[in-house]
């Protein structure tokens, strides 16, 4: 930066020589203010999404920079919501970036008094073992009259209604194949 530019950049110089003699507007604009732009403009990607809270189904635009969600706001194209969001929908960025989000598997052993860490892969294996054991222990082939039952009542599940259709489909398909009948959802509640 040359000395001339430096001096011209001074607010007081701009104030005395420019259109803003009181120095309350253009002359007072700081370099940071002059460079300011909406962070959504610089986003690497914008994903078209849907609000995860109630069932109105408001459109959301998810702005991502450097692999991080920097803003979630209403999608003006949506004929349902026309770009608007309620406080919950408007808090979606805080939801997904909350410091309280759990990002590690946690394990509480029987009679344990605190959480322990556990590898995700190990956890999946342990869960698979327990499913097969519970199934073997509680399997019912047929009722007293010999009619097929093909089931276990030793396993149950309760799902939230923020699961995707594709997820629900696989959940039901797998549980049904393993004979787990007691599969329930918030839709019952």
């Amino acid at each position: 930066m040359g000395i001339r530019t430096f001096i011209e950049g001074w607010p007081v110089y701009r104030q005395l020589t420019g259109t803003d003699p009181l120095g309350r507007g253009s002359a007072a604009q700081s370099g940071r203010s002059a460079r300011l732009t909406a962070r959504t403009e610089d986003a690497d990607t914008v994903a078209r999404s849907v609000c995860p809270y109630c069932a109105v189904g408001c459109g959301q635009r998810v702005f991502v920079t450097d692999g991080r969600v920097t803003q979630i706001e209403g999608d003006p194209d949506s004929p349902i919501s026309r770009g608007r969001l309620c406080p919950k929908g408007a808090a979606s960025r805080s939801l997904v970036t909350s410091p309280l989000r759990q990002t590690k598997v946690r394990y509480r052993r029987p009679y344990g008094t605190q959480w322990e860490e556990l590898d995700l892969d190990v956890a999946l294996d342990m869960i698979a073992d327990r499913i097969l054991a519970a199934r073997a222990e509680t399997w019912e082939d047929a009722d007293h009259a010999g009619r097929p039952l093909n089931r276990t009542l030793g396993i149950a599940s309760l799902g939230g209604a923020t699961l995707d259709n594709e997820e629900n489909y696989l959940i039901k398909k797998l549980f049904t194949a393993m004979g787990a009948l007691q599969i329930e959802n918030q839709a019952r509640i």
Binding site: S49, G67, Q102, L132, P148, N150, G159
Partner: protein, 873 residues
């Protein structure tokens, strides 16, 4: 609606700008009341009396849309002479079986169809929540019915309706609901004046309506009004359920429910459905009218999608692999079974029953008596930490060192960290693009279940056990991508849509589904969502570039149809009822149905079409039968079967009420589902004694600032700070009576729990004069629990477990309690306080109050009231 669905409410405000009148009926004065034209406070649990009053007002003043009613509803149909109305049975319809607390429905049938209706005894239908199956179709009706087009026959539905609601006068509405008669008449006048040929009116409810022991009948009453006024299948009309979770509609369409398979196909019952044929016939009812006639193709195609190459016509497509129901396997029965040690392992997938389900203590005691528990969530929720921080740890009922439940907490991916579809409240399926990778160990449910299934199958490879065949034969081969081998959600959606097995070509309509194994369809009502190999749910043509139906935004099931039964938007001749309300009509020139929406009718079937003798399935629907999924093509004012607790809605008091039912000797719904389990109890109501121990009525609901059990809002700072504490709202009069002060503490006591809350004294809550008494109501948000940024006691702890008989949803919108100033006791003293109340109220845990409270013998109407094998409704 403004409170829980603010963005949806923009359309109400739009309508208001154009002159619409908004009526808001609620026990609480909410943000919706604040902008409504008229607010009617109502006693919680009395909506049938209010709406029944509207039905009577319509019929008494002959304000029904007669041409619509005659042509499109069953008003003219003659009902069996064996039918005895609840008006003559002191609250019981004919066919009540006191042994099981359920109905035998033969006498409710249309005249001449008493025997072939097959509805029979409904105890088993109740246990399988059979009502849920009717989300997409009505119950069965066999063959032709007798009609009286003059509506004068004493046993025609119209006359039965008139008699049934004759006592639901404005005076009775005031007496039961606490709604002033003038206010009521204002509502009735506005509703009827804004319905008919030129205008339509809409009924909007939030699903608190379903959380009653008569929840389904609430909605039935609304349906009767909307049918009488000609508001169904027409633009600006209908009944709009404001559901509360992003894909709760999807969760019933593609269900994770014990009694349903995708597309509302029932889970087989061990006694009723021994074979594939018996199962399919139980759905399609051979000889019956309507689109369920093709059920065999939907069922075979589902099994083909499940078991792929292993599903063949020879082995009934693997029907033998399906697990069978033997009774009630619902979430509340499950929890009681957990307490009894019958359940080993439990999965909680983005769900927090320790806060969100009724009777929180029972939930937590159940969780504490498992072998293992898998919790998959974004946050550390109460249902994962019950062993550590739950209220039962404080009372000594759960001791961490003695609690054997092994808990796996697996972090879940958030909605922006995975792709897939939500189905919103109007059946609109919308695709979400993935924005970022989930953090750390967080994964989608798609990932978890796909890889869990893979491991299970690997472990079982070569298993000699027949029980493992279903897993090993499962079609479980989805393409994966990315660093975590995420399965392709689009591949799953394609399977849901269905495809031709030989070519893999996606189907475009469920009419292409076949029953010979040549098609595989994961959920037949979603066929078309992947038509032409294109993800139709991902369509996002901007709303402002489309007409108001916006058919190119997302995809609605079925067939991208935005208003169901829209054939009813045209008159019997196929012409729009009015220019103003033009929506779908018959185009004589082209010989097809056309309009703004996808017509809900066979495209080229003319209005004049009459079915040939002996026709069945879609062919049997006449050109003026708009309700194409109903067995008689008509909208049902009167439900001869399918609704387990009565063909007509009838006012019953909630299971817990301070009042004797002013209308009938039968106090509460006689068919409600009760659980005589030691952990469960019901506060006494008249005619039982000691009801005064719990003198107040309470209700729970949502706040705009929070979401359900709080797992997605109490953990989020900008929301938590907006409603930072648990509170209870009381009227100034109740505050004076109970000694409560604004912002002071109060504790509320029921037979199950005692919880504390800060007091908000507000005139938004008002006592009501009901049946000559002053009834105080108070309300609490149910969002709070012991984890998160902001914490508080859980309102749902106060409730016991009593369910609606049709869908097995709990009564958790009304109960009785006592309220006292100050904080609740802690430790064992808390249980002592509840014990004291129980003693005074004469509550014996595990012994529910008598179901029948009328002195009258139940009207027979039926000669052989025993359970039967073929009771599928």
């Amino acid at each position: 609606m403004a409170e829980a669905h603010p963005v949806g409410f923009q359309w109400v405000m739009e309508a208001k700008r154009r002159g619409a009148k908004v009526f808001h009926v609620d026990p609480r004065f909410t943000r919706t009341s604040a902008v409504a034209d008229t607010y009617l406070p109502i006693r919680a649990g009395t909506d049938i009396a209010l709406l029944g009053g509207v039905v009577r007002y319509i019929l008494d003043n002959e304000l029904d849309f007669r041409e619509y009613v005659l042509a499109y509803t069953n008003a003219a149909t003659i009902v069996s002479e064996r039918f005895v109305d609840a008006e003559d049975g002191d609250g019981l319809f004919s066919g009540f079986d006191p042994e099981t607390g359920s109905y035998v429905q033969d006498s409710w049938q249309y005249a001449g169809r008493e025997t072939d209706s097959g509805s029979g005894h409904t105890a088993r239908a109740r246990d399988s929540a059979a009502g849920l199956r009717h989300e997409s179709h009505g119950a069965r009706v066999g063959g032709a019915v007798q009609r009286d087009e003059t509506l004068q026959h004493p046993r025609c539905v119209y006359q039965i309706l008139k008699r049934h609601f004759a006592r639901y006068t404005p005076e009775m509405v005031e007496r039961v609901c606490g709604v002033g008669r003038e206010q009521f008449l204002k509502l009735a006048r506005a509703w009827t004046e804004n319905s008919g040929r030129e205008r339509t009116g809409v009924l909007i409810y939030s699903v608190g309506w379903t959380q009653h022991s008569v929840g389904v009948q609430y909605i039935r009453t609304g349906a009767i009004i909307q049918l009488l006024l000609g508001n169904m299948g027409r633009p600006g009309g209908g009944i709009l359920a404001l559901r509360g979770h992003a894909s709760i509609q999807g969760s019933t369409d593609i269900p994770t429910l014990y009694n349903l398979l995708p597309g509302y196909l029932p889970m087989p019952h061990h006694a009723d459905h021994p074979t594939f044929d018996a199962w399919v016939d139980g759905i399609r009812h051979p000889g019956q009218k309507g689109f369920w006639g093709n059920a065999r193709a939907y069922a075979a195609s589902l099994l083909k999608a499940y078991w792929g190459d292993a599903a063949t016509p020879e082995n009934d497509f693997g029907y033998g692999y399906l697990p069978r129901m033997t009774g009630d396997h619902g979430t509340y029965q499950q929890v009681l079974n957990m307490i009894d040690g019958k359940v080993k392992g439990y999965f909680l997938l983005g769900q927090n029953p320790a806060v969100g389900s009724a009777h929180g203590r029972a939930q937590r005691l159940g969780l504490a008596n498992l072998d293992w528990l898998v919790v998959r969530d974004l946050f550390m929720i109460e249902s994962a930490t019950f062993w550590q921080n739950g209220p039962e740890v404080a009372t000594g009922e759960i001791v961490p060192e003695q609690c054997r439940t092994e808990v796996f907490f697996l972090p879940a991916a958030a909605h922006v960290e995975k792709e897939g579809t939500f189905t919103q409240t109007q059946r609109l399926v919308q695709w979400r693009e993935k924005a970022v990778e989930p953090p750390g160990d967080a994964r989608s449910e798609l990932w978890f279940f796909y890889h869990l299934g893979r491991r299970l199958r690997e472990r079982l490879a070569g298993s000699p056990h027949p029980r493992d065949r279903a897993l090993l034969d499962l079609a479980w081969d989805y393409p994966t991508h990315g660093p975590h081998a995420e399965p392709s959600a689009e591949a799953v959606l394609r399977e849901i849509n269905g495809y031709e097995v030989a070519t893999g070509r996606p189907l475009s309509s469920f009419a292409q589904a076949r029953d010979d194994g040549s098609t595989a369809v994961g959920c037949w009502i979603y066929t078309g969502v992947y038509a032409d190999g294109v993800n139709q749910a991902a369509r996002r043509r901007p709303g402002h570039e489309q007409d108001w139906v916006a058919a190119e935004w997302g995809w609605a099931w079925p067939a991208n149809r935005r208003i169901l039964y829209n054939r009813a938007s045209a008159d019997p001749q196929g012409r729009p009822w009015s220019e103003r309300k033009r929506y779908v009509w018959w185009d004589e020139a082209t010989g097809e149905w056309t309009g703004y929406d996808v017509p809900d009718f066979e495209r080229t079937k003319p209005p004049t079409y009459r079915p040939p003798e002996g026709a069945s399935g879609p062919e049997a629907l006449a050109g003026d039968d708009p309700f194409v999924m109903q067995a008689d093509g008509k909208g049902w004012l009167y439900a001869p079967s399918g609704v387990l607790d009565g063909p007509l809605p009838t006012h019953f008091e909630p299971a817990e009420s301070p009042l004797r039912n002013p209308l009938y000797g039968q106090q509460a719904n006689p068919a409600r589902k009760v659980y005589p389990h030691p952990v469960n109890s019901v506060n006494p109501s008249p005619p039982q004694e000691h009801g005064q121990v719990f003198p107040y009525v309470f209700t729970v609901s949502r706040l705009t600032e929070h979401h359900t059990a709080g797992g997605m809002s109490r953990m989020v700072r900008p929301l938590a700070e907006l409603q930072p504490e648990m509170f209870v709202e009381v009227s100034p009069a109740l505050a004076a009576e109970a000694g409560l002060t604004h912002l002071g503490w109060a504790h509320l006591i029921s037979g199950r729990a005692v919880i504390e809350a800060k007091v908000l004294v507000t005139e938004r809550l008002t006592p009501l004069r009901v049946d000559g008494r002053v009834i105080h109501q108070l309300w609490l948000p149910y969002h709070f629990g012991y984890e998160g940024i902001v914490t508080g006691d859980s309102a749902n702890d106060l409730f016991g477990i009593t369910l609606d008989p049709n869908v097995l949803i709990q009564e958790s919108k009304v109960g009785t309690c006592d309220v006292r100033p100050g904080r609740r006791p802690t430790g064992p003293a808390l249980r002592d306080l509840i014990g004291d109340y129980r003693r005074r109220a004469g509550i014996v845990p595990g012994v529910p109050p008598p179901v029948m409270t009328t002195e009258l013998r139940p009207p027979a109407g039926n000669t052989d009231a025993g359970p039967r094998e073929n009771d599928d409704a």
